[in-house]
Symmetry: C4
Subunit: 122 residues, 4 copies
């Protein structure tokens, strides 16, 4: 594996859960770690089952910081809102980063976590 991470991360199973009516709210999130001494410029792409991808949603992660992107909120410079239903998320960065994707589901009285494996390449 390359030092400090990879430039592309693919998360194949996005599906926003209902938010519920109290904390902790159901959601999905993308966490990105930038171990470099310069900012990371991200370009996010969302793929769907039955229509064209949404491309080039722009965001940044400061040098030597972790950033949590709530995927149930408007994301990136375009304030894009991911619709309910199956999707996949591709993260492209100009410098190597490390990313993980998680879901918090509160459809029942007790929360459940789901972690989606990332596939990465440079």
């Amino acid at each position: 594996m390359a030092a400090n991470g990879q430039k592309t991360w693919v998360f194949s199973d996005g599906d926003l859960p209902p938010a519920g009516d109290r904390e902790p709210f159901g959601h999905e999130a993308l966490m990105v770690v930038n171990l470099n001494k310069k900012p990371a410029s991200l370009s996010l792409e969302i793929l769907f089952e039955d229509r064209e991808p949404v491309r080039d949603i722009r965001a940044t992660v400061a040098a030597e910081r972790v950033r949590c992107f709530r995927l149930d909120k408007p994301i990136g410079d375009q304030n894009f809102r991911i619709p309910f239903g199956q999707y996949a998320l591709v993260v492209r960065s100009d410098v190597p980063v490390v990313a993980v994707f998680g879901r918090l589901d509160v459809r029942q009285n007790n929360l459940a976590y789901y972690s989606v494996a990332g596939y990465s390449f440079s």
Copy 2:
């Protein structure tokens, strides 16, 4: 790691949970992302503990799409039904893809997620 994914994915712990009697139903699912500009032709293989594998279940994923295969439903062109009990799933594709496997268990009042790590090679 190779660009856009891998041609073979192995998921070693399949075991369909009871469906339960209301949404969300217990199930397992395979999500496949095709980042290529051409369709992906898949050949699925199911391995068991005590009998010969079922081979070459055929399915496709359109270009630049994600597809969710419910594994508790008939799958592929053959409408194969996976029996209850331990199994493993091998996904072979003619182009690189990214795949993940998940289980949703509702045997109790509250759901639980289980994500099975994929091993991939080209």
Copy 3:
């Protein structure tokens, strides 16, 4: 990644949960897939926090089969019983295999799954 899997798998977070008093019982399990046309001979090693490892617990997986090893039961030809408390599991095989490790926890009324990431090399 090498075809058909890897010869060594390391699972770093074993810790047998209480079994509870009804199905599904709390447990940990190791699933091993052998995609080869010959049997896989396994040698398992258990590491602990404060004493010497237990080495060379022997088991096999038939050709083109998946096998589930319940880790709360006697394992291998030696019928070794893993004690409660933190441990790590190393799987060595004479042919490449794919392995995953999972925990099912039933300490509360509802089950929870925990999947331990495997690290593999040949």
Copy 4:
């Protein structure tokens, strides 16, 4: 992958859950396996969303042992306490090791596990 593990592990989604008031207490933990015949010297680094990283928290793992670091307790020779909120954890070792990261959440009556994928390089 390199034999016996990797020298650097990155876990991108740390966020200590509330402890709750009874066993099992909510927490996060880092498990490190040292398969080598010499001790592993670790240097841990914690990254945050909005301030400088905390660097070079020192700890060791004995030869041929697994060690569980409770991340809700003071860690390393400095007895550093990780604050609540988003963080990322980097583990650097002088010899190859295998590490995993897990969260146990007890905010509701039933526990939930979350496993954070590790990214590793040498």
